[in-house]
């Protein structure tokens, strides 16, 4: 073995071993757990553990509250991903405009929520969204609008939570998009303008192809993130009202660590894993088809 090969092995072995022990092994463990009835009795004595095949999956299939959690999660992702990516792209384009001054100040202010601690700012927004004394309803009253029961109404609880999530997250992709936008050729933009292309045509045929890869990557990561929402409803609504903000991960946490149904909770984890994997693969395929990757 030559020097480089030896160094390569020494440099990579620790993190690879840690990854196998603390990520690969437990992930495989989740698959195994999901076909057992691991519960609080098995936690006390492994002799109580039984293999039940697809039993957990079958039971989940017939559990309305699980389907409710799936629906809520899809609603979060379906509304949240376009809202978050759109906000990021829009602010990136404004900040990127040649005439905008103090760019670094705006960038700092808009990015700040991203680095705040999720639990802390979720709490802040619980009070901002408060029906009676919240800042948002106070601002709306200035426009003559009646107070909205943001987090207390099952119909508005998801969009209200999304206001917070988008506020917290959009700065990151804004930064990524700003970088991607700065690679858009100004000569190409000028040439298109001289050829009589309008603002939309220039965006569609010059800007979009240039930032396509960044956009696709951001979309993939956003979908994955939105399918893993937990802390926001845990802190802001406790999954309510009327279970309207209980996500798949919330359901898993409840099953696993409130009721100690670790077998059932693992089945939920596996389903979540498969969903995220499938979506990522689909988006990667889509990207290749349009030669963005």
């Amino acid at each position: 073995m030559n020097r480089q090969a030896r160094a390569g092995l020494v440099f990579t072995a620790p993190v690879l071993l840690a990854t196998i022990l603390l990520l690969v092994l437990p992930t495989a463990g989740a698959l195994l757990l999901s076909v057992t009835d691991f519960d609080i009795y098995a936690l006390a004595d492994l002799a109580n553990l039984r293999f039940i095949g697809a039993g957990n999956y079958a039971e989940l299939f017939h559990t309305p509250s699980f389907w409710r959690a799936v629906g809520n999660t899809l609603l979060f992702a379906g509304l949240g991903v376009p809202a978050a990516i759109g906000t990021s792209l829009l602010t990136a384009m404004v900040i990127n405009a040649a005439t905008v001054r103090w760019k670094s100040l705006w960038r700092l202010l808009l990015f700040a929520p991203y680095v705040t601690t999720l639990v802390a700012t979720a709490l802040v927004w619980r009070y901002v969204l408060d029906t009676r004394s919240g800042l948002l309803n106070y601002a709306l009253s200035g426009f003559g609008l009646a107070p909205v029961a943001w987090l207390e109404n099952p119909r508005t609880s998801v969009p209200a939570t999304l206001i917070f999530i988008v506020w917290k997250a959009f700065g990151y992709n804004m930064l990524v998009f700003t970088a991607a936008l700065s690679t858009v050729s100004t000569e190409l933009q000028e040439a298109a303008r001289l050829d009589g292309a309008g603002a939309w045509a220039r965006f569609r045929h010059v800007t979009l192809p240039a930032i396509g890869p960044a956009l696709l990557l951001a979309a993939v990561l956003s979908v994955a993130n939105f399918l893993q929402i937990f802390t926001e409803p845990y802190v802001m609504t406790h999954g309510g009202p009327a279970q309207s903000t209980e996500t798949v991960l919330y359901f898993m946490f409840d099953q696993g660590f409130t009721w100690w149904n670790l077998g059932m909770a693992s089945a939920v984890a596996v389903i979540l894993f498969v969903a995220i994997f499938a979506l990522t693969a689909a988006q990667a395929r889509l990207g290749r088809r349009y030669e963005w990757l």
Partner: protein, 282 residues
């Protein structure tokens, strides 16, 4: 006139968005300084007329309450969060920086295959591993310990991929020149690669520190002993009992989020260079 509008409109728009974005954070600080019970009146007061640090004192230090001396244990939680974030950062860098460099620049057997495996693992949501990991830690007696909280972070898939990506830009000729001069691989790494990677390492350190500081679900699972609570776990627990104490909770939010915000503002150059440009001085 049209030219003027094109100058004014984007500036105005971005200023407005920035103002709206900063408003909740400013409000958080202002309310944390208000005396108990004053923030919940309508219309909500926007300025603390009688500013006080009483909420901070009550959270951080033991105080007299109905049943005698009590404490929210926020100060111990602050120390726990700090210790865990420092440890997570040091361990994370030690594991991922050499590996990321090796994947980018060293030729060794199995490199391509291991890299592919890491890329595939990047898709695995951390939560999938949490339930079995909890059982592993329970059997190892590591629930309610720093080691238990730190464990999942050691599988530094993202860190390795991040460092690898940033390191690809280092020219091979530079490393080969050092090798021809007789430098060992360790020397090449510490004397040539690490100085070039300094911005990348600082960025990764920042990311790791912030992620550890703000992590919630795993510490919530791995710690049941109140004395080992991290700030987010302590804050969530307090908020379940004191939801009505707006001012107290905002003081807690400031204590939790101010350290990372200040760190970010102080190190923004590294942060943004890292995210935007990969950050290796070519």
């Amino acid at each position: 006139m049209a030219v003027k509008l094109r100058t004014v409109a984007p500036n105005l728009a971005i200023a407005l968005v920035a103002l709206l974005t900063a408003a909740p954070l400013v409000w958080m600080v202002l309310v944390s300084l208000m005396p108990k019970g004053t923030a919940t009146s309508f219309p909500p007061p926007l300025w603390p007329d009688h500013a006080t640090l009483a909420n901070y004192r009550e959270l951080l230090f033991p105080h007299q309450s109905l049943g005698g001396a009590t404490s929210y244990k926020v100060f111990p939680a602050l120390l726990n969060s700090l210790a865990l974030a420092v440890l997570a950062t040091l361990l994370g860098l030690g594991l991922t920086v050499p590996a990321g460099y090796a994947f980018a620049k060293l030729r060794f057997t199995g490199r391509a295959r291991a890299l592919q495996a890491l890329l595939a693992l990047a898709v695995v949501p951390a939560q999938v591993a949490m339930l079995p990991l909890f059982l592993m830690l329970k059997w190892a007696g590591l629930v309610n310990s720093y080691a238990g909280v730190l464990a999942p972070g050691l599988a530094g898939v993202y860190g390795v991929l991040f460092v690898r990506q940033a390191t690809l830009a280092i020219p091979d000729e530079m490393l080969d020149a050092a090798r021809i001069d007789g430098a060992s691989e360790w020397r090449v790494f510490t004397r040539i690669v690490l100085p070039l990677m300094q911005p990348v390492v600082v960025t990764l350190a920042l990311f790791t520190f912030l992620a550890s500081w703000s992590d919630f679900l795993w510490p919530l699972i791995a710690i049941t002993d109140q004395r080992l609570y991290t700030l987010p776990v302590a804050l969530a627990a307090i908020s379940r009992e004191h939801a009505q104490d707006t001012e107290l909770m905002m003081a807690g939010a400031v204590i939790t989020t101010a350290p990372v915000l200040l760190l970010f503002v102080a190190m923004q150059r590294y942060y943004f260079t890292g995210v935007l440009g990969g950050g290796v001085k070519g």
